[in-house]
Amino acid sequence: MYIVDRRLNPGGKSLGNRQRFLRRARELARRAVREGIKDRSIKDLDRGGEVTVPDRSLREPVLRRSSEGLHDVVLPGNKEYLEGDTIARPPGGSGGGGGNEGSPDGEGEDDFRFVLSQDEYLDIFLEDLELPDLRKRKLATAEKMGHRRGGYTTAGPPANLAVMRTMRNSLSRRIALQRPKLEREQALAQEIEDLEREGSDPERLAALRLELDKVRLRMRRIAYIDPLDLRFHQLVPQRKTVAQAVMFCLMDVSGSMTEEMKELAKRFFMLLHIFLRRRYHHVEIVFIRHTQKAEEVDENTFFYSTETGGTVVSTALELMAQICTERYRPDDWNIYGAQASDGDNEYRDGPKVAALLQDAILPLSQYFAYIEVGRSGIDHSELWGSYETVKQKSDVLAMKKVRSRSEIYPVFRELFRAKGQAQER
């Protein structure tokens, strides 16, 4: 009897099957994920989870009997029936228990349910989205230490043994020192045995025996693999550069922004955050809220505390530019901006906003997205108007209007749609 401990085997044995399955279910899973997004809270968005897809395209058909025709079945647990008794057909199909016989695995036409991992979920969720304007993407210096292969050494742990190299050394040493081959020893031994059996030519036998002893001695002296031959792979530490990004969330928190509008804005920011995290190893977020003056706050304050006052958008842009120069030099960081507002702005501020955006913010940024939330009826807010003029000169700026929660995701997709498949509208 052998006992084998398989628990230490590498996991993910089914990974290949799972990938094939997902490729097959992809279209369905995609639809399920996008439908499901409406019911999910933003916090769980990146957690993966269960999706339910219709079983149709994943069905594995086999030839089986239908429930029509004559069926019979033997059942245990009779309590009252006598031979010849009749029983009313159970509602919902004939068969009286025999009807389902043909389905041994018990899998009906029900929906098929399975769990997507976080990565798979996001993969589908963010499929065919792309970060705009990657050509300016910067690599920050030296964030992390990694290892890479760096030649061979003569010492190391057994796991790193370079077998090919070791055997090559062994072979050349054996040739150089003229270690007799195994075949030669065997041939000699065979010949001796033959001679012994025949009993003829004792002289040759003696010579052969002497020769065999010599060969064996030499084989013993010259090892097949000598410690000298051993070579190990060497790993040398290496600095790895890692792309990093900072995301500025700008939001108007003046009295005109209702809770509902903030919620919309929050959803947008979260989506953006998840998206950036997929692309960069390291993403920082800066929250800037503003009324007539701007301040940098933490996340909670950003979303949940209210403030009253007027609205001067340029203060927020100024603060963003200032923080960039202080902490996030554009040479080292990929800078993304996302602004949410209801579009209100003090009317004298318009030109200043346009100028700031064009001269200070956009040159720093990889991308700057503006969404206007919650307005209906009014075509052009003041802020929208100011941004529109800038947009004509720059492709880094994107603008969209969002009215309800269900629009967030489509708008997000539209803003970040991969270049190749854009412009469908």
């Binding site: 089914s14 099957n17 009749t86 009313a88 009286g96």
Partner: protein, 517 residues
Amino acid sequence: MSDQGGRALLYRGLDWDFDTIRRVYAAIEEIAQKELGLDTYPNQIEVISAEQMLDAYASNGLPINYAHWSFGKRFAQHEAVYRKGWGGLAYEIVINSDPCISYIMEANTATMQTLVIAHAAFGHNHFFKNNYLFRAWTDAEGIINYLDFAKKYITRCEEEYGKRAVEVILDAAHALTSHGVHHYQRRKKPELAMEERRERERQLYHERVYDDLWRTVPTRAAKRPANVDEARRRALLDLPQENLLYFIERTAPRLRPWQREILRIVRQIAQYFYPQGQTQVMNEGCATYCHYAIMNRLSERGQISDGHFLEFLQSHTNVVFQPSFEQSPRINPYALGFAMMSDIHRICVDPTEEDREWFPDIAGSGSPTEVLKSVWAEYRDESFILQYLSPRLIREWRFFHLVDDPSQPHLRVAAIHNEAGYRRIRRALARQYDIGQNRPDIQVVDVDLAGDRRLIVHHKVENGVFLKADEAEQVLQQLANLWGYEVLLAEVDESGRSLREHKAAPSPATEIAYRTG
């Protein structure tokens, strides 16, 4: 069974380690070989985690398997159930191989491991090695190597012809697996080790032998006489043929050699599982009987404590619980198997007058183990029930036979557990386990070689039971894709009159995947 008690406990508490397993195994082996006289393959016990158990589920318990999305689907399915806590995992899985591999879960308690080793490593193992079906149809020694070959072969095909091309073939093959096994006329035991070597020769051979079909390809068709000799053609094509996969593999005119080989792989694996479908009650009955006997002996010998024995009894009763028909119409194979084995034991040792009348051969023979061993070796579920379901058991289980005739307004109770009903119930229950009854009777009957090469398949309709139409259409589509030309499936009655017909032509989309692959 002289020595009672007096031995040291094999383990204490719930935890186990590898030494515990070794001790337990040795104690069980002693009982199994000396007292029960079980004859087993050497054992290999593998401890696995929950995730690995799910892996094993997904591939029908096979330790190695080729890649296909349906296995991923099964994994996802089981995983979802398991994660939600809707269902637990099996305590063990055992593979019919030599050496016999049993997977045991790391989460089991020491008592459960003991139970599982007695159940799988001895009970199932003995059954695999001795039952005539397994001996005739499976090659325990070669299976692991064959699976390894299959996996590598399919991976190589995926690399060479693309994953999509391989997937369409496997999809089609899987749809036909239920009709991809030989049921009769087995000349010799399969030797899976030969498969790999034969693969190349087979290709050449087939191309030569089946050139009768090749010659009907349009360019040469003019040279052939219009009516090929009927009998000769049927003999050549081995018709009628109930193994659809085999027929397609040998005869489909447009398949490439590697596609045929993939069909063959699927077929071989289906054939390997063929006996398991027919011996579920017996197999589980045998294993459950063995673990029950062994655990009792261990307890008598003082090798497991009373507390642990109670723990064992609890899981044992859970396993052999049969809900009444209102809760589940399915008969629990563990319950029925164990009840019948115990009943045979009783008949041998302590028969009643009734038993003597019904089972004169074994009643009071006094050697239950010998009788059971010969039963395990020589029967399958259908014949086993037909032979050994005793009136007493029918009464205990309160079996009744229910008939649903669509021409009648009501279901009718055709037999119950009384003198008049015993034999009828026994026959009806046995028929329920007859593979010929559970699987629709499908045969390839003809190919129109001279004309449009249409393949004609018949389903013999019994008792007015037709095929499930939507699935039949899908399977037929797969069959047509493989065949490369039109396929006609006729559902015929006993006289051969066609009652219903389904047709399918190869679909252009898969056509591309097939021919360019």
